[in-house]
């Protein structure tokens, strides 16, 4: 008893416990962030360009941090989801187009997740015609019959598996001096493929749907501005973890694949290709990490997308409701899941094209979401005293403008290609 009492009076411990209780939105969002699409993009980029492309992670980190902090602040200040706020402040037309884009992008994203499932299970010798429908069924049961909150926690626990990439990276025996050097010395190439890769990395690290997810998680947690400091710490930890995992994936692929001039197109190629250089264990670990990340996001993505769309248009939504009471919600959820799965099960599915297109839509949607966020987070009617400060606005607007410029460039470049 006395021991317990001492524990309770321990200030440091109390703060740690308080922090653990607040821990959540940022860390969960961070783990969801490293999904199959992310792992694919990171490994393909670093296998193609080696260490020199690693610098992109540093600006990505800053932008990720700024954007997620804004989401957290908006959630804490208003108690409303991003979808709610967009609808209430920009009207139905803007909302409709944003969510149409989000729906298309997320069907693509879901397909990417199933591609991750198919690829990683393929390494263990399981056909995609078994693994993909089985996963979809598990996801459906988990969401409709199971307890979503508990599954989310289990997945979160599983996401520790993402740390397995650290082992993969270490097994690859990289040149850490060069990694550090590349991180702070950007070497930028001006050609279309490179640009697509950079945009892809930014787009997958700061995917538009994450903003919605993050803000909902903050609200569910019941965070208010009184908890700002703890919530901020959570956001920082989440961002650091996300970028750290990305860094290890990139290092592992750069040290092995790029060094041996092996180019890959999918994340599972990375897992396979790691084998001769980093050992069978590192390869299996990579594949398992990919599988966990894929199934985690394949559960959350369709669910979250259906939820935000219903939130914005005022339809009943939530897994605690019966399908009769929330028809639009369940229809959307099923449609996203089935279409995403179906794309992967097509016999000659153009997987790479789908992945690239999805990334492009993500990247195009991102500035739109960012602009809406910037406008709202600077509106004192919504945020009261907690509007953006100058530094936050500078980074926010700079990111938006750079992303728009890059997207525009991407759109224009193919035109020039055809003239060559």
């Amino acid at each position: 008893m006395r021991y317990w009492k001492n524990l309770q009076e321990n200030k440091v411990l109390k703060n740690i416990l308080l922090f653990l209780a607040m821990l959540g939105p940022g860390v969960i969002t961070g783990s969801v962030d490293n999904d199959a699409g992310g792992i694919t993009t990171y490994s393909v980029a670093s296998a193609t360009y080696g260490y020199p492309i690693i610098w992109v992670l540093l600006p990505s980190f800053i932008v990720l941090l700024v954007v997620q902090e804004m989401n957290m602040r908006m959630g804490a200040c208003t108690g409303k989801g991003l979808a709610d706020l967009i609808r209430e402040n920009f009207g139905i037309k803007v909302t409709f187009w944003i969510f149409l884009g989000l729906l298309i992008a997320d069907i693509g994203n879901t397909a990417t997740e199933f591609a991750g499932v198919a690829g990683s299970m393929g390494i263990f010798g399981i056909s995609k015609y078994i693994s993909v429908p089985a996963t979809a069924l598990v996801v459906w049961i988990l969401v409709t019959k199971g307890n979503y909150k508990i599954s989310e926690r289990i997945f979160l626990l599983f996401s520790v598996c993402l740390l397995s990439y650290v082992f993969s990276a270490l097994a690859a025996k990289p040149d850490w001096g060069q990694v550090a050097h590349s991180l702070v010395n950007p070497q930028i190439q001006f050609n279309k493929d490179y640009l697509i890769m950079v945009l892809g990395i930014v787009g997958t690290t700061i995917a538009p749907w994450m903003q919605f997810y993050m803000q909902s998680a903050v609200i569910e947690k019941g965070t208010t501005m009184d908890d700002y400091k703890l919530a901020l710490a959570d956001v920082v930890i989440g961002c650091v973890a996300t970028i750290a995992v990305a860094l290890f994936i990139m290092v592992a692929c750069a040290a092995t694949l790029h060094a041996n001039h092996i180019t890959i197109n999918e994340a599972k190629d990375a897992a396979l290709a790691l084998k001769p250089f980093a050992g069978a264990f590192a390869s299996a670990v990579f594949a398992f990490g990919l599988f966990v990340a894929s199934i985690f996001s394949a559960t959350i993505l369709p669910l979250a997308t259906a939820f935000y769309i219903c939130e914005a248009f005022g339809f009943n939504a939530g897994i605690d409701k019966q399908p009769e009471d929330a028809p639009q919600f369940y229809a959307l959820f099923a449609a996203i899941l089935i279409i995403g799965c179906g794309i992967i099960l097509m016999p000659h599915a153009p997987l790479i094209a789908i992945t690239l297109w999805t990334q492009d839509i993500n990247a195009m949607l991102l500035p739109v979401v960012l602009i809406s966020m910037q406008l709202m987070v600077n509106n004192p009617d919504i945020m009261g005293a907690h509007v953006n400060n100058k530094a936050q606005n500078m980074i926010g607007w700079a990111t938006t403008i750079i992303l728009i410029a890059m997207t525009a460039l991407l759109m224009i470049l193919p035109l020039f290609d055809s003239f060559k």
Partner: protein, 429 residues
């Protein structure tokens, strides 16, 4: 002239002055919410300029007519434009359009897609809010096209006939923390809310985001607050009290049934529940501290200490007086418990048993013949069985010395049992 018009059909339409010059577009309509059942438009807000927007306010009396365009009786020079949107108490676009409202009849929270306006005697009233799919399509300017497509494939589709309208009088606007704080007349809120049964109201409040929850809750009067708070789920209570001052929370805890208060205090972090207990009056404090010391699903944890008891020598007349004195008591007044000078339990009687008796008769003689009671450590299954076997809805709880500690009513037992059953059912799935 159409009798009904949608807000989406007139917002953005041209506004012309007396010389037929365009002075801007319709931006918003300010309403007078408290005048009649249906709020009446009393001002319009005009917007001019695409990027450098300026706004002006025009009184309803200065409008000549209101059709596909708005014609004013006054000249452009009489309008005063400013960069800021003129302040109005309550406007359609800002406060209703695209916002969430409570549908009082169906007791749910919905999002407004459009507003149905009624024109009568050159006045404009808000008649319904449109929360349906057609409202969404109308806003996207697709209504005609979609109607055509639906009619093409299924001319009898219910979509074409069914409008999802909520009459204004059944619409409750949610006061918002920021801009609406002092705006809406709280009277309007109160009157509408008090017509909803408190359990349903608790459900509605539960579905709101936390800030709307707090402001709706604060807009209720104390009695309603107590009722709604009692009916809320434990987790919602917990979230809500985080947003209220500790003083307010202490008041709530004092005024809700003791067993509900105990459940809440048990759920809270120890430090907070101790702080709250210190804020309570001595009686409540003592009562709750005692209840808190029992295990959750034991008789002691379930019981409430709110019951009426009388001494062994009390008469039937005294019992009537006791009931009259406690007519507003929130525990049961149907059962009376009789104890000796040391608090030892002697028996239970009910209003039914002594109602027709001689006023001078000793109350003890009207007691139930069988002595049914439980002890503080007994578990909930035992209590439920005992209640079922004896067909009683309330049972006294004694400690080892047979001193009366409290009573358990059937609803407390049901709450636990339903929880347990539900848990088992979920496990089966």
């Amino acid at each position: 002239m159409r009798l009904f018009i949608f807000f989406s059909q007139i917002v953005g339409c041209d506004v012309l002055d007396a010389q037929s010059q365009i002075v801007g577009q319709l931006h918003d309509i300010a309403m007078n919410p408290s005048a009649e059942i249906y709020p009446k438009a009393n001002e319009i807000i005009i917007k001019r300029g695409k990027f450098d927007k300026e706004y002006a306010k025009v009184s309803w009396d200065d409008i000549l007519y209101f059709e596909h365009e708005i014609r004013l009786k006054i000249n452009a020079v009489q309008l005063i434009y400013s960069k800021e949107i003129p302040k109005c108490d309550f406007t359609l676009r800002r406060d209703i359009y695209d916002q969430q409202v409570v549908d009082i009849d169906d007791q749910r929270v919905v999002r407004v897609n459009d507003i149905h306006l009624l024109r009568a005697e050159s006045q404009l009233y808000a008649a319904h809010v449109d929360v349906g799919l057609r409202g969404i399509f109308r806003r996207l300017s697709w209504e005609g096209g979609i109607d055509f497509l639906v009619a093409l494939f299924n001319p009898k589709s219910p979509y074409l006939k069914q409008e999802e309208f909520i009459p204004w009088k059944a619409t409750q606007i949610l006061p918002k923390l920021g801009r609406m704080k002092s705006v809406l007349k709280l009277e309007v809120v109160k009157n509408k809310l008090s017509s909803i049964p408190s359990a349903a109201l608790a459900d509605i409040v539960q579905n709101l985001d936390i800030f709307a929850r707090v402001s709706v809750f604060k807009s209720m009067d104390i009695t309603l607050q107590n009722k709604v708070f009692t009916d809320m789920a434990l987790s919602t209570k917990e979230e809500l009290i985080d947003q209220l001052s500790e003083h307010d929370v202490a008041n709530l805890i004092t005024n809700i049934p003791a067993d509900e208060a105990t459940d809440l205090l048990m759920k809270l972090p120890q430090e907070k529940s101790h702080r709250l207990l210190d804020l309570l009056g001595t009686d409540t404090n003592k009562k709750l501290r005692k209840l808190l010391s029992f295990a959750k699903n034991s008789a002691g944890g379930l019981m409430t200490t709110e019951y009426l008891c009388l001494k062994a020598d009390a008469t039937v007349a005294e019992a009537f007086q006791k009931i009259k004195d406690n007519i507003n008591f929130h525990g049961t007044i149907f059962f009376l418990y009789i104890i000796d000078d040391n608090g030892k339990y002697l028996g239970t009687t009910s209003l039914r048993r002594f109602y027709l008796e001689d006023p001078n008769k000793k109350l003890l003689e009207t007691c139930y013949p069988e002595n049914i009671h439980v002890f503080t450590g007994d578990n909930v299954e035992h209590i439920a069985l005992l209640m079922e076997r004896n067909k009683t809805s309330s049972i006294p709880v004694l400690n080892e010395q047979e001193i009366l500690q409290g009573i358990i009513t059937i609803d407390d037992v049901l709450e636990v049992l339903i929880g347990l059953l539900w848990h088992k059912y979920e496990e089966k799935l």
